[in-house]
């Protein structure tokens, strides 16, 4: 796999100057990858690259702030890196970014189901299809079903910020834009308020309050000091009701408004498959409408909720 070899070379060359390089390795099988922390040249043997590389490795950067870190990123991941740089949560000088032409990653739970949870020996993505080889035979799914939702509407398959690129550029196989299944946000918008409320009541009743969504998010900064566990101020009780859980989600989404790059890790990490990304997408749309801003695209930009302008372009208070 030429891109993988090219990346390995680049990492091997940079490694002596770095404390660690974060990439992907094989997890349980060919369908499940896992983050790989490379500290010695031998670790490179475990590195993989492909549609199983779903993790946004940028989530480790804030915790490794004062070390020299290398990181391999997909296009979407690089937006998180940029947002972290914008907010001063990562240092450009301590960061070495390795990019590659990403053709999309898979929706792992859906493929697990398609493989009837049998171990997957190999997985390939090309010609609009994802093909798995399992113990009991091959399984093929069209892209539109197999890939993660974000990949079907991806506009930045290559890292927006990069020190070493495993090229060539522009060679990523892009998913066909037509025939995309409806996202959660679109479904919600088609509902009236009562139905939307019932939807979230049902979803939140399954929530375990494990906070995997919070821990997986690269931009969530409160982490250990979260409003959901605070007694002073007491925003959220420990009761197991949809109300408390939705309150946490609302606080989380508000904290991320204009900062969330829609990497989807929150939803992917959720062990109960709750579509929490929709709330952040909704707020991001408002931010885009009001401030013409998309998080994580320009390292020099300041997120709109981080600064104050006396006169806003799109908010005409005096016209009310």
């Amino acid at each position: 796999m030429p891109q993988l070899e090219s990346l390995k070379d680049a990492i091997a060359k940079a490694l002596p100057e770095l404390d660690v390089v974060i990439a992907w390795g094989r997890g349980l099988d060919a369908l499940g990858a896992t983050p790989l922390f490379i500290t010695k040249p031998e670790d490179l043997d475990d590195m993989i690259l492909g549609p199983s590389c779903v993790h946004n490795l940028a989530t480790y950067l804030p915790g490794l702030r004062d070390r020299k870190v290398g990181i391999v990123v997909k296009g979407c991941d690089s937006r998180s890196v940029i947002e972290l740089l914008q907010e001063g949560l990562a240092d450009r000088d301590n960061l070495t970014v390795f990019g590659f032409a990403c053709s999309g990653v898979v929706n792992v739970p859906r493929l697990r189901g398609a493989a009837d949870r049998h171990p997957v020996q190999s997985m390939e993505h090309d010609s609009g299809q994802v093909r798995l080889q399992t113990d009991t035979g091959p399984v093929a799914l069209p892209e539109a079903e197999a890939l993660a939702a974000k990949c079907l509407t991806c506009t930045e398959p290559e890292a927006l910020i990069c020190d070493h690129f495993a090229g060539p550029h522009g060679t990523a196989e892009r998913a066909a834009a037509s025939g995309n299944p409806q996202g959660t946000l679109e479904r919600l918008e088609a509902m009236d308020f009562e139905s939307r409320f019932r939807f979230w009541e049902q979803e939140m009743s399954r929530c375990l309050r494990c906070y995997a969504c919070r821990s997986a998010c690269p931009l969530c900064v409160c982490q250990d000091h979260c409003a959901a566990q605070s007694r002073n101020p007491h925003w959220v009780t420990q009761e197991d009701t949809p109300r408390e859980k939705l309150m946490f989600q609302a606080i989380h989404a508000l904290h991320l408004a204009g900062r969330c790059t829609e990497c989807g890790e929150c939803e992917r990490a959720c062990p109960m498959d709750i579509p929490v990304l929709a709330l952040k997408q909704a707020l991001n749309r408002e931010i885009h409408r009001l401030f013409d801003y998309r998080a994580g695209t320009d390292p020099q930009a300041t997120p709109p909720l981080f600064h104050f302008k006396e006169t806003e372009e799109n908010i005409k208070e005096r016209d009310w």
């Binding site: 349980l28 922390f37 375990l208 821990s215 250990d224 009780t237 420990q238 197991d240 062990p271």
Partner: protein, 362 residues
Amino acid sequence: MATTLFIQRGDIAAWLADTAATHTVYAPLRDKTGVHFHRLCAQDAAAQTQALELDRQAQTPPKNVLLPACETLLEFSYAKQEDGSTSLDVQPVMPQGAVLLFGPRPCDARAFTVFDRVYDAGRGKDPYYTARRAATVVASVVCTRPEQSCFCTAVGGAPDDTEGSDILFTPVQDGFIVRPLTQAGEAVLRHPLFTEAAHREEEAADVCAAARAAVPCAPADFTAAPEPVAALFDDMEFWQSVTAKCLSCGACTYLCPTCYCFNITDESNGLEGRRLRTWDNCMSFQFTLEGSGHNPRPTKAHRYRNRIGHKFSYYPRIHDGALSCVGCGRCISSCPVTMDIRRIVHSAMQRAQCATPEQAHE
């Protein structure tokens, strides 16, 4: 003990529906996101049980049935008296009603014995847990289809283990061979849909043998883990390296059938309130945070060390070698970054062996 029984696959739903008249019945149902334990409503049972899924491990364990994610221990209310003083009334809220938990795997049922040793022990019997335990009949189903991440046989369990169960259902072609293990189990099996089947015991034994052979090979016998894991306590380099990718979330804890740590908090609304017991998570920073600001487990490496320590070392050393892990593998499959507890405990065992030069390792 009553003899072995048999029930046709198609009759399970009717038996559950009938039992729902006198018991709260929980069963594993396939819903839009996977297989989870749901409560059956007596009126709706027929429709609900269309989605009964007994051939697969449920994604979430039935831990909630004995240890709810949130339960009220006490209710309290203040009242202003005419003489200006404030009176306080505090009442415990005890669980009520009989329960049938149908369909857990033997690993899930074995997990209940992990709780029993702690919650139903000599010095401190937890009245809420013991009330639920006494009122719950556990009818487990032999696991004929393990997951990739299963390792029950490496932690002292088995796909046909009976520990913690009142009844064991073994799937055969046309239905289930049913073995009552306790009197409580016998009681719920007094139903016309069960027929005598002593002659089919051998068939059941064959299924169980095949099930045991199907469990994936684990890298080690983890019942030998307690001493090596304890020996690595101060080896922070080891714990830091195995937790580099851990997100310190809590998915593993809340999906684990043997995790039982809890928090107690008071939530009030004006003059009334409740003292709640809720699942807690030793992977969180607040778990051991003291009022002074000191935290004995300040990093994820410290906390994960405690998690492994508790499951594979402290608990077995207190409880005659019984591990606080049943090998269900849910921590592995639900982890967003696929932390693999098998690999980590195996590494710990190997590393501890390497530290003692006189021990040769393979």
